[in-house]
Subunit: 359 residues, 2 copies
DNA sequence: CTGTTAGCGCATTCAG
DNA sequence: CTGAATGCGCTAACAG
């Protein structure tokens, strides 16, 4: 009977919501005052070994976890940073975050992510949410927009340290890290030229918006350097200038290019998703890759090595950009650096696979 | 002179970190006391139209934003929930979050994401971080592990409302939402059988761990129902039983299956990434898909329609699972439901493409 | 309808 | 080395 009742009670207790232990609880159990417990737990100030042990034991017993909310209110440190991403379907995002986390985990910060879903309203709302929750710093990896920049400026004014990735900004105190997309595009188009191609298409952006895209600029520069005229009809993309090109965009683009009287013999897609869409369109049209048309992408997503045929593409140092940005941010948060905005631009690597060169 | 000085001062002020306005600041400007401003801003309690207008104007002028940290400390509401994801390279994750956000955005909650990176330590750390920061609720979409369940149990004991997605748990008060992977696998394997296949392989899990995987169980059940013996050698996968199978796993698996004396004529890969790896291996080995070997995947990732050939797969209602979980969670947070754990299982859809049926 | 009081949990400051 | 007082910004619970 007794046993039965006991286990019943235990069940009740573990089922019921138990208020987490506070610092005061720990202090009471350890027979000290809250402040002393705080010092023992945070290794700050002088505490006798004896007291420290008692406090540590009490904390362990009560499963004490500091309330970060209360801590932030008092000390203005949340020990958390926010990362704003455009979306997360993207292999880019995972690697980026892993680079960022690596740095912040070590320093005892939590990393929280929010998504802009490629919409300016969502981006603004997410940045505000981070600010309202008083994160210690922000890493922003969404593509630049006028309104987004305005919000960033406000955050900078509020004194929230911010670093951007892949989004150059000219706001005082905001560091930024990018990869050299221009050079990556230049290299891949040069590669196509060196294979003998001169009719080279660009898929993923509408002609109207093309000049704002560094990957397009690199493409155009490589053509010009080789003395090849840039043919407007060879640039195809969705009319609405999305921040991102999808496999559908690639499919449509390739279809349109193949429809020209003198279609390109090689195509550079703005990213691997568009390149995969282009591959699909080529197959569907009965074009052999690379014999009838060579196709190259950008980003080196993990699947790029597994397409048919495997995709020539440009790798950018994603995790490295993430950790570089994280280091910049940590410097700012901990006031190890307070100077003018730092800009870091990292190189990209051409990766040649069978979509441009037959085996 | 005066003008020059003024603009200089303005510049200084906007460049310098400005402490965000507090409720007290707003109240002072509006000529009321903080409590009144709070009521006016939160539509709680009765406030005269006159006062409300004054407060609203003052808040707008000062660009007042409530400090969520302080609010949580007092009212125990952070107006934020946490979503724990296994990783984010996965299209699954994006859709899931969009389903979740849709529900919580409407209700005025922010959604923050953390990643487990498919590691138990990271998962534990992320859940703890959410708990320490006192989120109002949690959506957990990582795969079940003993330690993970232990942490979830602790959170439940602390009274943090939690809902799992794709991870059945037997913890009091934790609702869960899943899709019927068993049925999806059953359907796709039946589809292969109806095409005349009887030697059907399974790629993505080691024989030792296969029985824990519902997708495998559905595969085996379909074979048995058709009177086809389950051949152990037809199940291939990495030895370490990962939570996830990659394109590399699919590539290796297909290669091993093709090596058998009597290789399968059809293959069901545990997910689309593995299926894409299998497609690549088949092409490399000179096997035509679907004539020499039919290949099917699971998840219907966006790229599945753009592989060569396009991939037969199973679609699960991802965003719907996200919003269903979000509704469960909101019910719990706002105490509209306090009963026993709810379980929701949603159906999957077979999507037939050319990787199993020649055109 | 509006103001006063008090306290959430913690860490900074100043005394012992 | 340890304790006591104080306040971060906000809102629940009472008074007026």
């Amino acid at each position: 009977m007794t046993t039965g009742q006991d286990s019943f009670k235990v069940n009740r207790r573990s089922a019921k919501a138990t208020r987490p232990a506070t610092l005061a609880d720990v202090a009471r159990v350890a027979g000290v005052v809250a402040m002393t417990a705080s010092r023992a737990l945070n290794q700050s100030g002088y505490v006798s070994q004896n007291v420290r042990q008692r406090v540590l034991k009490a904390a362990a017993k009560l499963e004490y976890r500091p309330n970060m909310v209360a801590r932030q209110l008092k000390s203005q440190r949340l020990s958390a940073i926010g990362v704003l991403l455009p979306d997360i379907a993207n292999p880019f995002s995972t690697e980026l975050v892993s680079g960022v986390k690596q740095v912040f985990d070590e320093s005892g910060y939590s990393t929280f992510i929010a998504l802009s879903s490629r919409s300016v309203e969502q981006e603004t709302a997410s940045l505000r949410a981070f600010a309202d929750h008083r994160v210690d710093g922000l890493i922003v990896a969404t593509r630049g927009t006028a309104m987004g920049d305005e919000v960033l400026r406000n955050l900078a004014r509020q004194g929230i340290p911010t670093v951007t990735i892949g989004r150059p900004v000219k706001i005082a105190g905001i560091d930024s890290v990018t990869a050299d997309h221009w050079q990556g595009a230049f290299d891949v188009v040069n590669h196509l030229i060196s294979l003998g191609h001169s009719r080279i298409g660009f898929i993923g952006i509408s002609p109207a918006d093309r000049l704002s895209l560094r990957r397009y600029q690199g493409y155009a520069a490589a053509l010009e350097q080789a003395g090849i005229a840039v043919t407007p009809a060879y640039t195809v993309g969705p009319p609405e200038a999305p921040a991102f090109a999808t496999q559908e965009d690639g499919f449509d683009g390739m279809t349109r290019l193949a429809d020209l009287k003198r279609p390109p013999t090689a195509v550079f897609a703005r990213n691997d998703f568009a390149a995969i869409g282009a591959l699909r369109a080529a197959h569907k049209l009965g074009l052999r890759v690379p014999q009838d048309v060579a196709i190259a992408g950008f980003d080196n997503i993990p699947l790029a090595a597994f397409t048919t045929p495997p995709l020539t593409t440009v790798e950018q140092p994603i995790a490295q950009q993430g950790s570089a940005a994280a280091k910049f941010l940590l410097d700012r948060i901990e006031k190890r650096y307070t100077g003018t905005a730092r800009k870091l631009c990292m190189p990209c690597n051409l990766i040649v696979r069978e979509s441009t060169t037959a085996i």
